[in-house]
Each structure stands twice: as C-alpha cells, then as structure tokens.
C-alpha cells in the first residue's frame, strides 16, 4: 500500500508526462502481480462500489477529530476534500510526512487491502465498520489514509490518463500499445492471472471483448486545409451514446464507450443484432428515435435512468443504432483496412440485414466544403451536434490520434448568468471554490439554471476564490451563497424542459466562456430569454 500511495502521490503532483510514465514503470517493475493488477484497475479509473458513504465519514470525523465541530467544518471548507481532511486531522501526532516514510503500519499489500479489508466491509454492521475504519485512520500515515478514504467512498480520481497507463505498460512489457489497450478494454478482474496474461501478451479474452474506440479531435483550423472534399467522408455528428455491437460465438453484446455492457438496456437493438452474421463488430451510436427523427439526448438519458424498462418506455422512447464503421468481419480484425473498404462492407452487411433498428449513418452528399458548411448550420434543427469528417484512406485507430477524424461542431448557445453559489472543486482544485452555480432573472429574483466548472484561467479562479470567501452570504455544508455581483458568459449545447429544476429548464453541457467584468448583475439574461431558445428549438424540430 505504501508503494502504491507513493506512486499515487507522484502521479497526482507532477505535470510531467515523462515523470508519470517513469513512476508507473518503476512501480510495476517492483510490484507483485496481484498488486500490479489492482494498481492497473485503479489507475485506469475502474471503480469499486462504495463501501461507505461520505456522510458517514463526515460524522465519524467530527466525532474523532477532538476539535469543535465548527473548526472541523472550517478546515474541511479550506481543504475542500473530505478524504484529505480526515488524513490531515486524524493521523497520529506528530504526523508522518506526506511521503509516508517513517511509519510501519502500512506494510499491508495493495491486494490484501482489498481482499482482506475493503471488500469485506459490506458484510459488516455499522458499528464494526466504524471501528475498523477509524482504526485505519489512527494507524495510517497521511498518504495511505487519504487513499484508503478515497477507495472507500469510490471517489478516487487519478492524475493520469488511460493512454498514459497504456504507454507505461507497453514500455514495461515491450509490447505495442494496441495490445495493451486491447487487454485493458472490456470486463476483467484484477487478478495475478490477468496480469500474467497481459504480460505474456495472450489476453485472449472472452468472446464479448470490444475494440478500443477511435475518437475524433475538434477541428480547429480552416476546413479548406483538409484538402479536397472527395477525400473525406462527412456524416452527422449524432448526439447519443457511442457504442459497439459485438456479435461472436452466437452471442451479442452492446458496449458503451464507457466500457459498460448496456445489452440489457436496449433489447430492440440486440434483437436486431441477432440476425447479423457471426464474427462481426460494429461501431456506432445508440440514439432515441421516434417518428423518423432523432430525439434529444435528454430523452435517451431518461430511458437509461429507468430501473425497469416498461413497455410504455420502449414505445415512447425507442432506440436505434446508427452504425459508423465495421471493425471485425468474418472473425477478422478489419481495423487496418482503409475506411473506404470498411464502409463498403458495412453498407453491404446492413443492406442485407434490412433493419430499422440497426442502419448506417449515411454519408452526406454535399460535394463541396461550402455546401457542407451551409448544411452544418442546420445541424441544430436536425437534432445533431454538427458534422464528422473522416479521411477515406484512414484506418480505425485507437484513442484520440489527430489527423484522420475530425468533429466539426456547431457553435454553442450563449447567455449571461450571475454567480449565485460556489463549492470547492475536486482534485487539483479541491481547496479552491471552483464549482459554480449561475442564475438568470425571473422577475425580481435570480433562479439557478446552470452549474459549471470549467472555463476560467488559474488566475481568475484564484481571484474569484478570494472574493467568494469574503463575500459569502450563507454557508450550507461546503456550499456558499455569494452576493449576486459577478456576471459570466456561459455556453451550452442544448436545452430541455425539466420539472425537476426550479427554473423548469435543464441545460446540456453548460460551461464558462468569459468572465464579463464589464457587466453588472442587472444586465444578465432572463429566464424568458432561455425559454425563448427552448421554444425556438422545439419549433425547429416540429
């Protein structure tokens, strides 16, 4: 555990890619296979079910800290992260350095931490849980204490991308990255056997295994720089759930890009896929689709949110799979063939399937960039996010490799909102107020309409944090309401009615574009302005 905690600290602190990869390679080289498998599991962001909720930890912290409750809250407010506040307040006195050296109580191996401790917690009653966890707090040095709390609450975010983990493992095993990537995708258990198979490059894996998704990069330069239009496939950029249909060994599995199996959630798609020939993998988008047009993403979300798929839901929000690509045909990996060849094959497969539930995402016919640009302007009324551009000669890569696939999105909607509430951020910004809630005018009052985290520079965040601390009106837990003074320009991708929100609307992917220091709160937008956008959108859709 100590070694993994030290690795975590390095990954967490450094911004150097090299330093991160070095640290991982060093760790894995010295790690036991069982520990290494668990480490990979955590590093690529797989999560265990949380074994204890943050509110319990919070209660126990106040009981255990030996300090007035308000002071614990004040400290939590300043640190911004519960797991860390525990580690800072409850570790033995004097604390072991953040490095964790100088303490002997953390020699339990990473594997054993899971198998002998954390995974056993769910079967225990509350008192027993409390006794054990508080005991760990009192015996672990800072780093491990922090890490254990994060694992318990299932909220660990590691400062390392999956791509970097893949690079480190590829370097360690001296294998191509694609092999490692393939081994890591899909369902696997963190066992020494898994580690061994990956090391020997024989992650044969089971028959449901998907391929790593190839992702597009946002188009930044002028469209003309891509060269002749005829070298590119242009499609709508559908706004659904990216997925893969894996049809092998008489079985059919639907995977989401988040590497979840969502087969059960979309019975109509899976039923249609049963008629596909064996040994085939399709890449595409799961969409809510009714009366010959795509439904807003919010509806698809609603359907996923339902615990039980009733006949009513299936009828109200039917789903479809728009296929983009064919990755495997006749049990052969087709990813290195040019897109042109793959699309021809895809077309022929889907023509003979003749299913509405699985059809092709058509190539757009506009034969000049200018014509495409005009079409793109109409994207919103089509219920899509913009266009996708894919080079006809491109293979199906892994991850986000620039150059072959571009997304050409439509400009977002914007409005001016007033900062109303602030809460501490996560990770890198956990001791700064960086999670903001914005409101717009509804008569004389400001109603909250959007939460946003990203978009400000570090300097702006620091300035705003200082201001928030000295202009707080009320505190609710670690959320502060502030004087309604600051105006921000916010962008968003979509808007839907939402009875769950006080404002009656929900914005999709809101984010901060600009701090409008030139504007006063009275100049911010009104709820009426946003409702007008919603109505306009609904008119367009009709």
């Amino acid at each position: 555990m100590r070694l993994f905690a030290n690795l975590f600290e390095t990954l967490d602190t450094t911004t150097s890619t090299h330093a991160k990869i070095d640290a991982m390679v060093d760790y894995f080289r010295g790690a036991d296979p069982a520990d290494a498998a668990w480490a990979v599991y955590i590093l690529i962001g797989r999560r265990l079910k949380r074994s204890v909720g943050p509110s319990l930890l919070h209660t126990w912290l106040i009981e255990e800290a030996g300090l007035p409750g308000w002071l614990v809250e004040e400290t939590y407010g300043s640190i911004g992260d519960l797991a860390e506040t525990v580690a800072l307040l409850v570790t033995p006195d004097p604390p072991a350095p953040p490095d964790g050296r100088g303490s002997t109580s953390s020699e339990l191996r990473l594997r054993d931490w899971f198998h002998e401790r954390i995974l056993l917690l769910p079967s225990l009653d509350l008192e027993e849980k409390r006794r054990l966890i508080v005991g760990w707090w009192r015996s672990l040095p800072y780093r491990e204490c922090f890490l254990v709390n994060k694992l318990l609450t299932g909220s660990l975010r590691v400062g390392v991308s999956r791509v970097l983990v893949t690079r480190a493992l590829a370097e360690l095993f001296d294998q191509p990255r694609t092999h490692v990537e393939r081994a890591l995708i899909g369902a696997w258990d963190p066992t020494p056997e898994f580690w061994g198979a990956m090391m020997r490059d024989e992650s044969s894996t089971d028959s449901t295994h998907p391929y790593p998704f190839f992702l597009a990069s946002p188009l930044e330069g002028p469209i003309g720089a891509l060269g002749p239009r005829k070298d590119w496939l242009a499609e709508w950029k559908w706004d659904g759930i990216r997925g893969q249909i894996v049809r092998r060994a008489g079985q059919c599995t639907l995977w989401s890009r988040g590497e979840e199996i969502i087969t059960d959630r979309f019975p109509e798609i899976v039923a249609a896929a049963a008629a596909l020939p064996d040994g085939i993998v399709l890449d595409g988008e799961v969409l809510a689709w009714r009366d010959d047009r795509v439904l807003p993403f919010a509806q698809l979300q609603q359907r996923i949110g339902r615990r039980k798929l009733t006949q009513k839901i299936l009828k109200e929000i039917p789903a479809r799979f728009k296929a983009y690509d064919i990755l495997e045909w006749d049990a052969e990996d087709w990813r290195n063939r040019p897109l042109q060849e793959r699309r021809a094959q895809l077309q022929s497969v889907l023509t003979s399937l003749a299913s509405k539930q699985i059809d092709i995402s058509v190539g757009l016919r506009e034969d000049s960039w200018e014509a495409l640009a005009v079409l793109r302007e109409s994207a919103r009324t089509q219920g899509v996010e913009g266009l996708m551009l894919k080079a006809w000669d491109s293979p199906y890569g892994t991850g986000r490799q620039r150059g072959a696939w571009w997304k050409w999105k439509i400009a977002p909607f914007v409005f001016d909102g007033v900062l109303l509430y602030a809460a501490p951020g996560h990770g890198r910004r956990s001791n700064l107020y960086t999670d903001y809630t914005f409101g717009v005018w509804h008569g004389e009052v400001l109603v909250p309409v959007a939460k946003a985290y990203s978009g400000l520079t570090d300097d702006e965040i620091r300035t705003l944090d200082k201001w928030i601390r000295s202009h707080t009106r009320e505190k609710f837990g670690n959320v502060r309401s502030v004087e309604p003074v600051h105006v921000f320009e916010l962008a968003f991708e979509g808007i839907a009615r939402s009875p769950r929100h006080k404002s009656g609307i929900a914005l999709r992917f809101p984010r901060i574009k600009l701090w409008r220091t030139d504007k006063r709160a009275v100049e911010a937008d009104t709820l009426g302005n946003l409702q007008a956008v919603l109505e306009q959108l609904q008119r367009d859709v009709r």
Binding site: T10, D12, T13, T14, T15, S16, H18, A19, D22, A65, L67, P68, W70, L71, E74, T75, S78, I79, G80, D81, E84, T85, L88, L89, D93, P94, P95, A96, P97, P98, D99, R101, G102, F146, G159, G427, R428, R429, S430, N431, L432, D458
Partner: protein, 331 residues
C-alpha cells in the same frame, strides 16, 4: 476611537503611541522596529531602522545603501521615550525577533513570524511572559502540523538521489531568504556535496556564511560555472519557476518547499513534481503551545487564518481578536 492599547494597528502599520515607533510598518515612518527582513515586514523608505544584530547583514542587502540601521543585541534594552523595548529570538530566520515592549509595568510582545522547530540557521524561539501577545497566525488551522525537520531533509535528499540516478537535475524552489539557507544547513548533516544556487539565493547565502552559519558549499547556477548540471541539486526562488532561466538545466524534476505543501490541492496546483512540507512558521500545535506558554491574558492575531484561531481561543477562555495588517506575502 481612542484606545489605551500600547500597540495599535494604523494605516501605516502596528504603532506604539507611548514610544512613538512602528513595528514592521508598510509605509515609510520615522522610527521602524523590524522583526525580520522578509519583504512583507521590512520595507524601504523609513528614516531609522532598529533590528537584531544577527539580522543586520541580510537586512542591509534588502535596504538602500544609505539607510540608517541601528542593531541591538538579543535581550539588549533600548528606550523610546518612557517605553522600554528589547528584541528576542523568534526562530523564524537568521536575526528574526520578537519585540518585547514594556510601559508602566505592562508587557506586550509582538511575535513577528516565528516557529518552534529547531533550525540550525538561527537562534531558537524564546518564550516571553507577557500581558498581551500579538501572534502571527499564518497556518492557524489544525490541518497544518509539521513533521520533524530531519525526516523532511531526508526526503529531499532521497528525491535528489533518485533524480540523480536517472540523470535528471533536481530544481528545488524555496524562499530565497531563510528557507533556502535552512535547507542547505539541514542537508549538510547528510552529505557534503555542493549545491547550485540561483542569483537571488547566492547573496543571501553569503550573508548567512558571514554570520557563521554552516551550510553545504554552493556555486552560482550560471552556465559558465557548470558544463553540465546533470544529477545536481539547484536551489531557486519560486519566481524562477517556468522562467527562461530554467532552460539551462535541460531534463529536470522540480520540487517546492513550503508549509502550504501540506495540502494536496496546493501541491497539485503548483505543478511541481514534488512538494516538501517545510515551513518557517509555527504550525497549529506550535501556535497554541506558544500562546499558552506566554501566559498572555489577551491575544491579537495577524496574518493567515486569524478568524478560526480567534474563535478557538475565545472558546478556550482567551481574549482574542484579529488585527488587520498587510503582512502575509512572504518573499
């Protein structure tokens, strides 16, 4: 509002009316008693400066050449009108002082910045009994507790060595005055190798050597003095991070030494490869212990988390209030 207090906060700084002098003023005044030479405590433009003899060398580096400086030995009495003052070690940096002020049988102590940990570069903090204690509160939250300095020194040394094995330069950022010299002195117990220092650190290291502080040998981190920095340790002020000056080192790993490194958010946001928790300020237990040991009936707090400390002390039955000052930005 008229106050009977011996020391009050004024727009120019902490002021002793009865003795007509200021302590660490942030605007030019006639008589300035200085606790130490950090930028937020020692500012130029005053007519006369009074400070502790061991701190004279570093203060002179930071003051104009023609500044009038009177230095007092630790413990030596000096009289301003009917007020007796004396300076006593604060354990913060070389020559740092607490100011003891006595008038009509009443004793006030202004702590300046201080710490309770052992520091080989300066005289240890002296506990002074007083009626009113004006204390700093930079790290006045219970989350801030320091590990023992030798453990942190060992961490720094191990980090340097592991970078060296890979052929990387270790660039360690630390405040140029005080922290950098303390690191050089602490590392001297682990090795006798030379360390490269940034220009802003070099002159202060010289002043420390002249005051008799034992530290590792140092070279200026100029391109001519070293053909190749590979494997070396370099000490630099935080302002050098990300500047073109860094280019000379090629492949390097960076670290930062500060009490703020206790908190993960700070370690991450700074973007250094490593954070080392080493502070020249008192931690939470250090502040509480000191306040207790002075037996002061009244405590006034400057810099940092003054509000939390105030409320905590009040609940413990100590009359505590916050004083508005402009201290805080060390450098």
């Amino acid at each position: 509002m008229i106050s009977d207090d011996l020391v009050v906060a004024t727009p120019r700084g902490l002021y002793c009316t009865a003795g007509d002098f200021y302590i660490d003023p942030w605007q030019p005044v006639e008589r300035a008693v200085i606790t130490h030479a950090h930028g937020d405590h020692l500012r130029g433009g005053s007519s006369r400066y009074y400070l502790a003899r061991p701190g004279e060398g570093v203060a002179r580096i930071r003051l104009p050449k023609d500044a009038f400086v009177a230095s007092l030995e630790y413990g030596e009495q000096h009289t301003f009108d009917r007020v007796r003052i004396s300076l006593h070690p604060a354990g913060h940096i070389l020559g740092s002082s607490q100011v003891r002020i006595e008038h009509d049988g009443c004793v006030w102590v202004v702590s300046g910045d201080y710490k309770r940990e052992f520091d080989p570069t300066c005289a240890p903090f002296e506990v002074l009994a007083c009626n009113v204690f004006i204390s700093e509160a930079t790290f006045a939250l219970p989350a801030y507790r320091w590990s023992s300095t030798p453990i942190v020194a060992r961490e720094i040394f191990d980090w340097w060595n592991s970078n060296r094995e890979k052929g990387f330069v270790s660039v360690l950022f630390a405040y140029a005055l005080g922290k950098a010299q303390r690191i050089l002195a602490e590392l001297a117990t682990l090795t006798n190798e030379a360390v490269y220092v940034h220009g802003a650190v070099a002159s202060l290291v010289e002043a420390y050597r002249e005051a008799g502080v034992t530290m590792l040998p140092t070279f200026p981190a100029t391109v001519v003095s070293a053909k190749n920095f590979a494997g070396a340790l370099v000490l630099a002020p935080p302002s050098a991070a990300g500047s073109p000056w860094m280019r000379r080192f090629g492949e390097c790993r960076t670290g930062f030494c500060s009490g703020w490194m206790r908190v993960r958010g700070n370690r991450r946001r700074r973007g250094y490869d490593r954070g080392f928790v080493l502070s020249d300020h008192a931690d939470w237990p250090g502040l509480l212990r000191t306040i207790r040991e002075t037996h002061a009936g009244r405590v006034l707090l400057t810099h940092g988390y003054t509000d939390a400390m105030c409320r905590y002390l009040q609940e413990q039955g100590v009359a505590a209030t916050a004083l508005r000052t402009e201290y805080g930005a060390e450098n």
